[in-house]
Assembly symmetry: C2
Homo-oligomer: 78 residues x 2
């Protein structure tokens, strides 16, 4: 949840990029959860920007999506 003056923009970008890459692959949150070993509800909350995701989980999610981690933090592919 965004509080005070600083909106965690990176978190929201990550959320959007994961949704976009998952959509590109045409897989469900359940499928991504299975690929990453994370829980479906966790994936859902990450995609809504509710989670302050750890770097280790960014790596797992990137691997599950078949992209480089930095691609999930970059606006280029928007």
């Amino acid at each position: 949840m965004a509080t005070r003056s600083t909106v965690p923009k990176l978190r929201l970008l990550l959320a959007r990029r994961i949704r976009a890459e998952r959509g590109r692959l045409g897989i469900s949150q359940e499928e991504l959860a299975e690929r990453t070993g994370l829980h479906r509800t966790y994936i859902g909350s990450v995609e809504r920007g509710e989670r302050n995701v750890s770097i280790d989980n960014v790596e797992r999610i990137a691997r599950g999506l078949g992209v480089q981690p930095q691609e999930l933090l970059s606006d280029e592919g928007k």
Copy 2:
């Protein structure tokens, strides 16, 4: 510390990139801590790859270093 089968490579890359960018600026861990509002000992443990840093803190550290967050997860500038 790397355990079991999967080494968190991204975490170690992040650690190395933060050290490199801080060195480029010629600032101490104390100075980076002050710029980010994080604790000096936390910065130290991040730079040793001991911390599973959150995405919000990656953003704060990138801002403190004056780089884009994805630059901290990319090997290009090595």
